[in-house]
């Protein structure tokens, strides 16, 4: 038995919003792999819950007419990895969420929960951020969208207004077209592990595959919330793919990140990881995009 004061099961998105308005103290439970553990640990014991787990309308990946990829917030990690649209257009997201916890956690954990808990180490976050994902929120005032980067307010804090619910993550066509990416998770063991640091890089190359048209780098655990390496991205826009470029980019990201010491790893180790992982993920992303970085002479 869980120490739950009361549980309200939502029948629809509208009903979920109503329930949250009626019970302002209640917390949303999606897959429960965070919430139920917090209840078990005592941190959330005695809470009221609004369960949205039954809302199948929030599951699945689809493509809108304008090419926008829509990932329902309740889509589980395992279903994202298996999804044909994800595999075709943004395979790296499927690979990244395939590194969350273990198989059974990936069956229950949802991408919406992974972003709404506001955790910097979330395996989906750095990739979603690096692909300029947009968050769709439903609330008493209607639907609003905002960039994922702005959704994160601080550790464990996201821009969810009272009685608001995240319903989807959107990736516009312009964001994934002709792009390829790579995600590296560094952890102390392979399964059931939280990332020490995670790095997701994606690139778009010129048609002759010689120039870097666009570079995007997303980090997990390189700051209080998942973050982009904006300065580095700007600096290397239009750079030609020459020997030594990955190392330069790897060095450059150090001015974009601000990891801290924690019991998992020291700040110095994380800085080293940020640099090295960027370098390696960049090389892989370029190669997936059909480009090649010449060997050093």
């Amino acid at each position: 038995m869980y120490d739950i004061k009361a549980l309200y099961e939502a029948k629809s998105v509208e009903n979920a919003i109503e329930l949250m308005k009626e019970h302002p103290e209640a917390k949303i439970i999606a897959g429960g792999s965070d919430v139920l553990i917090k209840i078990r640990e005592g941190k959330m014991a005695g809470c009221e819950l609004v369960s949205i787990y039954g809302l199948d309308e929030l599951r699945g990946v689809s493509m809108a007419e304008d090419g926008t990829l829509r990932i329902g917030s309740l889509t589980s990690f395992s279903h994202i990895t298996k999804d044909p649209l994800i595999k075709k257009y943004i395979g790296v997201l499927g690979e990244a969420v395939d590194m969350v916890g273990g198989p059974q956690i990936r069956a229950i954990g949802t991408i919406g929960g992974n972003t709404c808990n506001g955790v910097t180490s979330a395996d989906s976050a750095s990739t979603l951020l690096a692909w300029d994902a947009i968050v769709e929120l439903n609330g008493p005032e209607g639907v609003r969208t905002l960039p994922l980067e702005e959704f994160y307010l601080g550790p464990g804090k996201v821009d969810l207004k009272s009685a608001e619910l995240q319903t989807a993550l959107l990736i516009p066509k312009e964001s994934y077209e002709n792009c390829a990416g790579f995600y590296i998770k560094y952890g102390m063991r392979n399964a059931m592990e939280i990332a020490t640091t995670g790095c997701s890089v994606n690139v778009r190359l010129s048609s002759d595959k010689k120039t870097l048209e666009r570079l995007r780098i997303g980090f997990g655990v390189a700051g209080p919330v998942p973050r982009r390496a904006r300065k580095t991205e700007e600096e290397f826009k239009g750079a030609s793919l020459e020997a030594g470029l990955p190392e330069k980019i790897g060095d450059a990201v150090l001015k974009d990140v601000e990891p801290r010491d924690s019991w998992r790893a020291s700040k110095d180790m994380r800085l080293h990881l940020c640099s090295t992982m960027t370098e390696r993920a960049f090389i892989e992303a370029v190669s997936r995009c059909g480009g090649e970085i010449p060997e050093k002479a």
């Binding site: 549980l7 792999s33 139920l36 078990r40 640990e41 273990g102 198989p103 059974q104 229950i108 392979n190």
Partner: protein
């Protein structure tokens, strides 16, 4: 709220249609053990880390300890009891676990076997590395995993007509 909250949960368990009034605070582990006496579903860590409580829900393997019982309404659930024959005959994976000495204390076995069942139903042949990843959500403190891996591999090869 002081009074208890209940919900009628109707689901298919090991092929049979079942119904019970369930406390909304119950985990699926609680329901399967207490209401249906399916004690192969073990209470291990109860926070989704050890996999001892794993069951198959609509074809996918879940940790029943972090799955609310009320969510099971309308679902099809399979536990280890459903794998064995009418007279307690072992299924191929269970037999492979016996043959390969993949069991010592046995506490993790039901979870591992349910996971293996969901893996083998895909009909695919996996490499050792892939199998290790697919089984990585289960902890075993006795065997050191090698015998378990061997057992799953043996059952996989037999199902796929390989030696």
């Amino acid at each position: 709220m002081s009074e208890k909250q209940y919900k009628l949960v109707t689901c298919k368990i090991n092929g049979k249609e079942r119904s019970a009034m369930v406390d909304v605070r119950a985990s699926l582990t609680d329901m399967l053990r207490n209401d249906y006496s399916l004690t192969s579903v073990k209470k291990g860590c109860e926070v989704g880390e050890c996999g001892a409580c794993a069951v198959i829900i609509d074809g996918e393997c879940y940790n029943s300890c972090i799955y609310l019982a009320i969510w099971a309404d309308g679902k099809e659930i399979e536990t280890l009891e459903g794998l064995t024959g009418e007279n307690g005959e072992l299924n191929d994976i269970q037999q492979a676990f016996v043959d390969e000495t993949a069991i010592q204390c046995g506490f993790c076995s039901p979870g591992f076997i349910m996971e293996a069942e969901s893996i083998l139903r895909t009909g695919e042949i996996y490499t050792d590395e892939e199998l290790r990843k697919l089984l990585s959500g289960h902890l075993c403190r006795c065997t050191g995993y090698d015998n378990i891996l061997r057992a799953v591999k043996k059952a996989m090869n037999e199902r796929n007509g390989k030696k």
